[in-house]
Symmetry: C2
Subunit: 291 residues, 2 copies
DNA sequence: TCACATTTGTACGTATGTATC
DNA sequence: TGATACATACGTACAAATGTG
């Protein structure tokens, strides 16, 4: 583990120990602890700048959350696997189970973890239908999800354009993998995706590997490259079909298409994918919930 | 309040009372407690059918959440107002503060309530910029939000079409208010909205009232009609501009437009608005976050 | 089928920190 | 300075779901 400090708030409530109840149970005064991470690291701290000029403090459970995030990021627990029990984590970090619980609660709310009563807490994976659904927003108008077939049209390596480099947080000219695929539903081509990935992170990515893959692309990324897509931002527009796109999607030039620009992030808000999808919305729609 | 029953789980942990610690603090055994709503009402219960054929049980905090929802729905606390403190609610419902806290946590997570440390917990209102932002997803490509001007083009009453009636959960032919408005940013028309509302709920809604309104439409609905928009579902497509729409949005016929179909819901998942927006996405985009 | 251990879920209580007025 | 309200942290006990012997 790492070096820990003691914050000057949420100290052990040792004032209790004299007054405290029956002596059979282990009391707070016996424990050593209260930890604080020495560096801020992945902490998604609030925007509030503390009045004091000093270090950035955060509640214990946020620190635990950050530690859990680090473990996830390092691949200590793989997608689909169970993480240690709350009890075990509490012992490991020397905090109460309730504190671990609150940390996990937030990670579960962010869909990074999945709790199952009686079984344990599991690392979210794109192999599950539920998760995949969260990232595939195009739905048939009649509501019935159809089988989707993916055809890889292209996969090659090159240098990032200035625009892509900026979005992926790369230096201009760094290597990227570019791939193009066509998703069909019931055999009719519906989504044309252009995808850019940082070359360094996706070394062995080839058409052959993609061809062998059944199931979602993000599932492959998890299994083969250890990269979990955790979050994405999309920008959606209505555009006109160009010549090439029209041909691939089997529509006329200038037909309206839904353009979906996506930047996907892994743990720690690091961008790892840029995607531009062109969708035929004659019989499909992009669904979204506001709340 | 209402009649309450005692569930056969989560009974008072009265086994403690003999063993329990110092006698100065109020013990669990003193309270009367443990409630269960006699009817299911607004409960958003899980899909799990209980093994037993009997009543539908739910955790206490879910019951409290349902009671809070009822109070919100009845307008006991108005948008922008503070609800009673956790302490007070705990006393009212005869449960612990922690249980009230968990109920409020969920309502806050759903954006129905807003917690402010040191001040209280407040009913969410569309008067706030933050909330408005959640429902206005069209953004300028450069990221800088501009002033939006709303011009009401039409407002009349009529009978619901079969389609609208179905979406609003009305009987075919029931009265609706239809209105059309044009939103402009920096003076350039960008969004053309057609809106349908249940006539019965929006009695005094007129062009004059709309004309006097500054601020968001949903704010007006809250203030004048006591109807809070809490959630919405959208379906998004790329379409071709028709003649009328093209003229109003100042584009050519057949230009691509983003169509956003929205159904909005108030407390208890009751649909209270259908909206069809046509958006110009030359310099704007619909933003969305996936997680 | 039953008993048991494990793991998450619910509920309670207490003490203290932090923000606000 | 004090009162109030939400936030954090600890601890305990029991319920419910799951898997195993």
């Amino acid at each position: 583990m790492r070096e820990l400090e003691i914050p000057h708030r949420y100290r052990s409530p040792d004032t209790r120990q004299g007054i405290a109840a029956g002596g059979t149970t282990p009391r707070a005064g016996m424990r050593a602890p209260k930890i604080l991470m020495s560096e801020s690291s992945l902490l998604d701290r609030q925007e509030l700048p503390r009045a004091q000029g000093g270090a950035a403090f955060s509640p214990l459970y946020q620190q635990i959350k950050a530690l859990l995030l680090q473990s996830l990021d390092r691949g200590e627990w793989k997608p689909g696997e169970a993480i240690p029990s709350e009890h075990e984590l509490a012992a490991r970090y020397q905090v109460s189970q309730g504190t671990v619980r609150k940390a996990i609660d937030e990670l579960a709310a962010d869909n990074l973890l999945l709790r199952r009563q009686g079984k344990g807490t599991f690392v979210a994976t794109h192999q599950e239908a539920k998760v995949r659904f969260r990232f595939l927003r195009l739905m048939p108008d009649d509501g019935k999800q159809r089988l989707s077939g993916s055809r890889i049209l292209d996969c090659r390596r090159g240098k990032a354009s200035a625009e892509i480099a900026a979005l992926l947080d790369l230096k201009a000219g760094e290597g990227v993998v570019m791939l193009r695929r066509l998703l069909s539903f019931d055999g009719s081509p519906t989504i044309l995706d252009d995808i850019w990935l940082p070359g360094a992170l996706f070394q062995g990515l080839t058409v052959e590997l993609l061809g062998r893959n059944r199931g979602p692309l993000y599932g492959l990324f998890e299994a083969e490259f250890g990269i979990s897509m955790v979050r994405a931002e999309e920008k959606i527009r209505a555009v006109r079909a160009g010549q090439e796109e029209a041909a691939l999607l089997n529509v006329s030039i200038s037909d309206p298409l839904l353009e979906v620009e996506r930047v996907s992030y892994t743990y720690g808000d690091r961008p790892v994918e840029v995607r531009r999808g062109l969708c035929l919305t004659e019989h499909f729609h992009y669904r979204n919930s506001l709340n």
